[in-house]
Structure formats: structure tokens, C-alpha cells
Symmetry: C2
Subunit: 357 residues, 2 copies
DNA sequence: TGACAGAATTGGAACGTTCCAAATATTTAT
DNA sequence: ATAAATATTTGGAACGTTCCAATTCTGTCA
């Protein structure tokens, strides 16, 4: 039972050199003689040495800890799981590891995990903020020189980088698609009106309506919780309108699924009697019946982009806030009633790489 | 621009005490006078002190780093995302943070991330090993006194704790259910025969068959990749048999979906013309058409259990290997052709807490 | 008042690494 | 052979914390 940890001194002793030399080897310095290097490496392997990043990090005060923090608001949602995978891919191959935490939309939890991560000395943070996060919450981090990248939801007012999908363009293309199919009264359903994402998507809806030469009617915008239940509620109100709409774009896919539920409960078949379009292209969208027409946002791509941006800032040493919006793409399936056509049952289009630039 | 980090010495100076006292306060020692404590705390807040866990951890050699590593083989799969959430819940409330990494079934990647985590000084590891992981791979960890808990897939031969679902009982109940519906020839489809999980599930199948008073026929066991494509392949072979089966239990849900695809391609309707049962109860199972009858395993519960087990071992200081198998439950939906009954369209039963003991 | 116990505080010495300045070994040029 | 240059190696002194043993305060009891 080897009790004590093997340290750089142990291997120095065993290899007949000084600890400084061993340290040089560890850092791959070109100063050290080739013969010495291989000997040291051999001894390290033999003794089963493991590098102590904590100690190293202590010395190179404030320098790179090779840890990035990732906090998401709902890992259960496959959207965020994909995002985390995207982040992991790039940080991993840069030799970093990720602290991953889930806030479940709890702002207290978020504060806790961020504090904890900070104590552990993360060198950067990627966060999809919980709802109602105060923009000032990340102030201390950036003041301490720790780059922060906000993804998915932006944080107006915070001086940090962010990367969000092009909500406006996405919603606009959805509306135009529906208008192209002949719909005149298109509703906007779901979402909390006090969020930036809502504003963006609504703006896109409005531009789409106007671009299609239709009139914008306030009554066709029906907010609700951005969930399945919210969708049921919203479609209920929509149908109760005097002149009822014949189609709807939804705040996100969850709402869209709820809308479908609500339609069926009223003996209307989504896709046939009423067109519905979602937003996000979550994994269930393509398997659902009818398959959901939706705006695909490639969460994994966002994760990768965000991680790249963060690493760039970490390496640069200085974090100048940068804002990127990633392209989205309308994926036409069945729920909009567009094609009787599609013979291939699973529209795999979602997997394409779209985040190149 | 505050350049230098605030240290325990700074706050000692500012509070007019010694660094030792500050340290005592940090650890919540009862030795320190109440007045002093609150003064120190006040100063800490004022100067924006952040605890440096790295330094602390360096001193208390080998002691608790408050980090647990979590490595899963496929975070994209919602099964594992749920599992990670379960782990996060319990480690988070124990004041730990989790390193979460994804191997994507790559054994090299797995080795890398585990090594990296070790350098960072994790105090425990939860792993769902990539396929074909060598049981000896975790030897160094346990030798170094770092507890390891293997989840979902077990690692025969490794002297580590593990927590897997009750594959045998689950498959057995699936078979019995089908037999109860009158099926006489029930196939076992999919899965790689060289894995421990396969063995367990097959054993369950066999006991189920025998318990139902049927004969076990070798020809009804058809292995394949544990994927949708594998399912298509397996059902093809099954249907080509002289006396074809009328029902099948599948290695997992992916296989089951493939089986449904294959049935439809032959103009057979799953649920009506042929009964199929899956395993895992992935999130898509309840939304699919027909809704999949499957064995539910509650990944989040496994995550919580695993984390609890790990924390227990970390606190105990000694890790004695312990093996737990968690209960599973057959969720009857439509694909087995059981009920014409179910009026509630979404069988929410999957959300119940079943991991109490 | 002095001795004594308990409560509260405190100065080093670690922990395992990296950095710096300086020392030593090896070449090269004269 | 010797100086100058270059290549390699090396002892400390940090980094921010915790621990230990020792010290200084309190108050209590004779």
C-alpha cells in the first residue's frame, strides 16, 4: 500500500536530477537535454507519478487552471445536454476539463455553483443564465479577469460576450413559410413577455407578417408559459377568438407540442386543420406525430462556438465582450401541412453542420 | 482595477488578527470568539475575498477536494443526461462540484479524461464505462484511495462499487407480461452478446420464458447492434424463421424502435400484428407511435444513488466495494398490444420516484 | 495576590509546484 | 590552451492555505 503521493522531488531523486529539471520536463521545455528528458519520463512512468495541478496553479498565481465552468438552466432538456456536449468537445481537446452544473432555473442555485466554481479557480465560464438573472451577477467574475460567455439567453446590460441564435430571422422565416402556404391569420403563441428571447422572436414574427404583406394584429400574440401546458392554454385562447387564426408559430417546441395537444382535444388535426411551427428543433421534434416543422438551432454548434470564444478570451488574457448570433434554419416537416410529399420517414436534416461561420 | 488576489493575509491585516485566526473562521471552528468571527466575516465581504480551494487542498494533503468526477459514455442520450442531473443534485447539495465529461464510447477519450480529472484531484469518480473498458483501468484510482462507483454498465472483475438496474427482473417481467397476453413464441432481439448487460437481460428472458411454462428456443435469440438499425436487422431475421414469433422483447428501446420500423416495412403494425417491448424507457418511448411498452429504469434515480454511495465512501475514507441493483418497472403502453383501454394519452407513470430503497 | 484552568489567538513550518538568478558543463572560436 | 559563447542544470523563494505547538489573555479559586 503506497501511502504517500509521488512528488516531483521523488522522481528527481530517483532520476538523479534536481526538481527544477523535472519541472522543466513537465512543461516540455526545450531547455532540457534529450537524454535527461527521456530518463525523467521513464522514472515518472515507473513510479506512477501524477501531476498535481493544484500546486502548480497555486504558484503561477491566477494563471490558467485548465478548468472551465459550464452552467445550464436545465440539463434534462436535450437542448442543453447537446450544448454541453458541444462545449465538452472543444474544451476537452484543448486540454481543459469542464465543471458542469445544473441550476434548474434556480437563481440561488446558480449563485452557489458559480461561487463554488470560482473557489475552484475556473479560468472561464459559459453560462445559460437562469430566468431573471441579474446582469450584475457576473460583474465580480469579469472584474477578476475571468472571461464569461453567455449562451442561448442573453443578458442585456452585462458587459460579457454572448452567443445566441438568430431568433428574429428564424421566426421571420417561419412566418413567411406559413404565409407562402396561403395562411392569412397567423398567431404567435407562448413565451414569457419579460424575456429578451421573447422580444426577439416576437420582433421576427412581426417583420415576417409585414414582409408577407399581412397586417399585424395584437390579438394574435398570445403569451403563456414556455411549456407544453402553456401551449395548450394559448391555443385555447386563440381558438376562442372571433376570427380564429389558421396557423401559429410557437415560442418553442414545447409550446408547439402543447398546441398540438390542444388542437386534438378540439378534434382538429395539427398539420391538416391547423398549421403549427415550433422553435428549437429538439430531438423529439422529428419523431413526433405529426413530425414538427420547426426552426433548428443546433445547440451543439452553439456549445462549440461558445467554447471556442471562451478559450480565445482565456488565451488572450483579456476579455473584450463580443456578441455573436448564429444562423438558424427552418426545417419543414409535417405539422405545417406543407408537404404531402416526404417519403423518407425521418428527416435527418437536423444533423447537418451549420455553424461553420 | 484590483490586480492582486485578496488573500487570507490581507483580511487578517485588515481585521487586526492573525492569518491563523482567519483560517479558523473559514473552517467554522468553535474556538474563535464570536466578536472576532463576525468582524472577520465583515472584512471578508468588504474586500471581496474568495476562498482558494487549491491552496487549501494542497496543505491538507490528499484530503477532500470537494470535486467528484463524472464520466458518461453518451451525454447526448437523454438517459445519461438524466443520470448526470441526478448526480449533480446530490453532489451539489453536499457542497461538491462535478467534473462532467463525455467519452462518446471512446476508450482513449475515457482514459484521457480520467487522467485529467485525477490531476485535478477529484475525490471520487462516477463512471458509466465506455464499451470494452478494461476492468484494470480503474485500478490506479482505487490504489490511490479514490473511490470509484460504476453505474449502468458493470465491470466484472474490477474491485469497485457498482450500481446497475435489475436487468434480469426487468426482462423477466416483460416476458411474463407477453406470455400473459397469450403469446407462445417470444423472441429476444438485439444487443451485443459480449457484454455483461446482455448476459443479464438474456438470463432474465430465459427465466421469464421458463416461468411462463414455455420452452426456450435458441433460435429465438437474435443478437445485433443495440441500435435502431440493429433492430431492423434482427426483426428481419426473426420473421424469416420457419415458425415465426408473435412477440419480442428487445435489448433496449433503440432496438425496439428499429423493430417497429422493420415491422412496418413488412406491412405489419406493431402492437396489433406483433407485440414489442423495449428496455430503458427513454424519453421518446412515451411519445412514439405506438407508445412503447418498456421497462423503466429511472436514470436520475441511479444518478442519485450512485452519488450517495460515492459520497459515503469519500466520507468513510475507505472504499469497500458494494454492489446495488435498482428496481425497474414495466410500463405498459401500446406497442405490446395489451390495452385497447388507456384513455389518458400520455402515460406519465415514468416520473414516479422508485428508487427509495 | 498568586497560581491555575480554560478560552482565544498566534507564529512558523509544511503541502507540491513554478520561477528566477545563478552556477556549471559543453562547445566554439581564436 | 583560453576566452567567449551556448547549452544545461540547479538551489532557494514564492503561491495561499492548514496544522501544530506555543503563547497570551481572561477569569476563578484559594
Amino acid at each position: 500500500m503506497t501511502k504517500a503521493r509521488v512528488t516531483v522531488i521523488d522522481i528527481a531523486k530517483a532520476a538523479g536530477v534536481s526538481k527544477s529539471t523535472v519541472s522543466l520536463v513537465l512543461q516540455g521545455s526545450s531547455l532540457v537535454n534529450e537524454g535527461t528528458r527521456s530518463k525523467v519520463n521513464a522514472v515518472m512512468r515507473e513510479l506512477g507519478y501524477v501531476y498535481n495541478r493544484g500546486a502548480a496553479n497555486l504558484r503561477q498565481a491566477g494563471a490558467k487552471s485548465k478548468i472551465v465552468g459550464v452552467v445550464v438552466n436545465d440539463l434534462t432538456n436535450s437542448f442543453f445536454a447537446e450544448l454541453a456536449v458541444g462545449v465538452d468537445m472543444v474544451v476537452q481537446s484543448a486540454g481543459f476539463v469542464q465543471f458542469l452544473s445544473n441550476t434548474g432555473e434556480s437563481i440561488d442555485r446558480q449563485r452557489e455553483v458559480v461561487a463554488s466554481m470560482r473557489e475552484h479557480g475556473i479560468s472561464g465560464l459559459i453560462v445559460s443564465p437562469a430566468r431573471a438573472t441579474d446582469a450584475a451577477d457576473f460583474k465580480p467574475l469579469v472584474a477578476a479577469g475571468i472571461p464569461v460567455v453567455v449562451v442561448v439567453r442573453n443578458l442585456p446590460g452585462a458587459k460579457v460576450s454572448s452567443i445566441v441564435s438568430d431568433n428574429q430571422a428564424g421566426m421571420m422565416s417561419a412566418v413567411k413559410h406559413l404565409a407562402g402556404l396561403g395562411h392569412k391569420r397567423i398567431a404567435f403563441l407562448g413565451g414569457f413577455p419579460d424575456t429578451a428571447v421573447f422580444d426577439d422572436r416576437l420582433a421576427g414574427y412581426r417583420s415576417g407578417v409585414e414582409a408577407a404583406g399581412l397586417d399585424y394584429h395584437e390579438e394574435l400574440v398570445i403569451a403563456s408559459a414556455p411549456s407544453r401546458a402553456g401551449g395548450v392554454e394559448a391555443i385555447g385562447k386563440a381558438i376562442a377568438l372571433g376570427r380564429r387564426p389558421t396557423a401559429a408559430v410557437c415560442f418553442n417546441d414545447a409550446v408547439a407540442f402543447g398546441v398540438c395537444d390542444g388542437l386534438r382535444a378540439r378534434r382538429l388535426e395539427p398539420g391538416a386543420d391547423f398549421a403549427v411551427v415550433g422553435f428549437d428543433d429538439v430531438i423529439e421534434a422529428q419523431a413526433a406525430v405529426p413530425a414538427l416543422t420547426t426552426v433548428s438551432v443546433d445547440p451543439q454548434g452553439i456549445g462549440r462556438r461558445g467554447a471556442q470564444m471562451l478559450l480565445k478570451q482565456i488565451n488572450a488574457g483579456k476579455a473584450e465582450a463580443e456578441t455573436v448570433t448564429t444562423a438558424v434554419r427552418l426545417v419543414v416537416r409535417e405539422s405545417c401541412g406543407a408537404g404531402r410529399a416526404p417519403p423518407s420517414k425521418t428527416g435527418k436534416s437536423v444533423k447537418s453542420k451549420q455553424d461553420a461561420e
